[in-house]
């Protein structure tokens, strides 16, 4: 009797201990998620706040800050500049980065080790170093600081991102595909466009989307290479220097919405990637 009851005792203590552990896990994870998302929630919520000052409690709902954005010419110009820069930089970095990844994967040449180190450097290198070293170069050759200089800077800084993503996919691609294509009489370029490229397509698109997002958000390189024209983050940055305004929250909210759309698109792309292979 006594043994049985002490057994149930122990069991019920174990059960309650397990429940306590479960709840403390859930509590901890909720705290972390709160830490991650509360600030974004604050950003979005205060873009609809009636008052100009960002204080608690909130004071009524308004769309005023969004309307102000729509009539802010500087901001709209900065947005167009950012789109221009991001589109060109992405195209450029893909045109250089895809052949670079293929080179690293397939071709051996003297100095390959140095080439790989150099091209992957910007992933770990603070952006500011890319920014100032290119500033020095452009000054030395007399190339004016401009949006075009920013494009070249972004393309260089983002090369590492494209190369790592595409290279990883190429490594998983069986060499036999290429050999089969060559055996069937396809030329190198035909093989590339008909065999290799379709197989790495999603990696290229994914890398391109990532490069676009990063370029659209880039500050350290842009800071040193832009002339009179502002990109969107540079414009937001200069607005922040003058103080906090709900208009920044409104821009931020729009960027969050666009980001969520991009995330969903990339998740779909990933799914497509893993689907047929498995």
């Amino acid at each position: 009797m006594t043994m049985a009851s002490s057994n149930t005792d122990r069991r019920s203590r174990q059960v309650s201990l397990a429940a306590a552990e479960r709840w403390s896990w859930l509590f901890g994870i909720t705290l972390i998620l709160g830490f991650l998302y509360l600030p974004i929630g604050v950003l979005v919520a205060y873009s609809f706040n009636a008052s100009r000052s960002l204080t608690w409690p909130m004071s009524g709902l308004t769309f005023e800050w969004y309307l102000k954005l729509a009539s802010n010419d500087q901001l709209i110009q900065a947005f167009y500049n950012s789109v221009y820069v991001a589109v060109c930089a992405t195209a450029l970095t893909l045109m250089i980065g895809v052949p670079a990844a293929i080179t690293l994967d397939r071709i051996d040449f003297p100095g390959k080790g140095l080439f790989r180190k150099l091209i992957l450097l910007p992933i770990a290198l603070p952006g500011i170093i890319t920014g100032i070293s290119m500033l020095i170069l452009f000054r030395a050759i007399g190339f004016n600081l401009s949006l075009e200089a920013v494009i070249v800077g972004h393309a260089t800084a983002l090369l590492a991102v494209v190369v790592t993503q595409v290279f990883a996919r190429l490594q998983r691609l069986p060499q036999s595909l290429q050999e089969a294509s060559a055996d069937l009489g396809a030329s190198g370029f035909q093989t590339f466009f008909l065999v290799t490229l379709p197989n790495i397509r999603t990696a290229v698109i994914g890398a391109g989307m990532l490069a676009f997002t990063l370029s659209f958000d880039e500050i350290p390189v842009t800071f040193f290479l832009t002339g009179r024209d502002n990109t969107l983050p540079m414009y937001i940055w200069s607005t922040m220097r003058r103080g906090i305004t709900p208009e920044i929250n409104a821009i931020g909210t729009l960027i969050v919405v666009v980001s969520i759309v991009l995330i969903f698109m990339s998740v779909l792309l990933l799914r497509e990637k893993s689907g047929p292979k498995e």
């Binding site: 040449f109 080439f115 350290p220 800071f223 922040m240 995330i263």
Partner: protein, 289 residues
């Protein structure tokens, strides 16, 4: 000889654009940066020279040493804080969540903010922590504070919190990647042998996940080390980091040679940390693979 000419030509076509690009836009600029660090500033411009004056100035003028040490300190605390938050989260994902759908959703929940502008994620902390900010007015409205406090913003703690927030995905990703690969059988074997769960964690799981912690620590450390936006937004007068000083040498102070020397110091520190962690990871892989 064994490679036919036409193939070599084709290879050259693939090879030359990236090769030329890295040469012109990476190798040459880094070289010029290196050369500049030996030049002399003669206000308002600078002259070619070969002398170590800039490096001597960095080593002897205490303000530069202080900035370098402060940057290392902040980068260390950011990495440590991020690891302390990221590890339990990654552990929960890898071992406690049973449904793959939930796991993917929780993983994406951490990674997704990377796609949201870095600048805005840092800015929102400025609006939360400021004297007239949301935290202050919230604490006042519930009666914890009688007047706004300035302790939350414009100091190193604010910078560390903001940077942990911004860079935490880089910590979760590699830690989760290693935890996920740990075979469940190892933990089962450990418990079959009568080892307690806490001991299993410290003797089996934690040692096996060290390569992931090292990778995350390195990434977070290097990213923080080169940051100049958080100090500007939420840092105080004692919050300048190396990148801010470099930026001002290339801006208002117009001392490119000194700025170049400082950039090279930064480069050497970052590359040293990366190569140490590289060796560490390779060591770990050799041991556990």
């Amino acid at each position: 000889m064994s490679v036919p000419l036409s193939l070599r030509l084709k290879r050259a076509v693939v090879l030359s654009p990236p090769l030329l690009w890295t040469l012109v836009f990476m190798f040459i600029p880094y070289t010029i940066l290196f050369v500049y660090s030996f030049w002399i500033q003669k206000y308002p411009t600078f002259e070619p020279a070969f002398q170590f004056g800039n490096y001597v100035q960095l080593a002897t003028d205490p303000q530069y040493l202080r900035v370098i040490l402060r940057t290392i300190k902040i980068a260390f605390f950011v990495s440590l804080g991020a690891a302390l938050i990221a590890y339990p989260y990654a552990y929960f994902l890898a071992f406690k969540v049973k449904r793959p759908g939930v796991r993917l959703a929780l993983y994406m929940a951490v990674v997704a903010p990377l796609w949201v502008s870095y600048l805005l994620r840092a800015y929102t902390w400025k609006t939360i922590l400021g004297t007239t900010g949301i935290l202050n007015s919230f604490l006042m409205s519930i009666g914890l504070l009688s007047e706004p406090s300035s302790v939350f913003l414009y100091n190193q703690t604010a910078m560390i919190v903001t940077l942990i927030y911004v860079f935490i995905p880089f910590m979760v990703m590699p830690i989760y990647a290693v935890l996920e690969k740990i075979p469940k059988s190892l933990k089962e074997a450990s418990s079959d042998l009568g080892v307690g769960r806490l001991q299993t964690f410290f003797l089996v799981t934690l040692p096996l996940s060290i390569p992931g912690i090292v990778a995350g620590f390195t990434m977070t450390f290097c990213l923080t080390f080169g940051d100049f936006i958080a100090p500007f937004l939420v840092g105080g007068p004692d919050g300048l980091m190396i990148a801010n000083v470099i930026a001002s040498q290339f801006g208002a102070s117009l001392n490119w040679p000194l700025g170049s020397a400082l950039a090279l110091v930064m480069l050497v520190i970052v590359l040293t940390i990366i190569s140490i962690s590289d060796r560490f990871e390779r060591f770990g892989q050799g041991k556990f693979a």
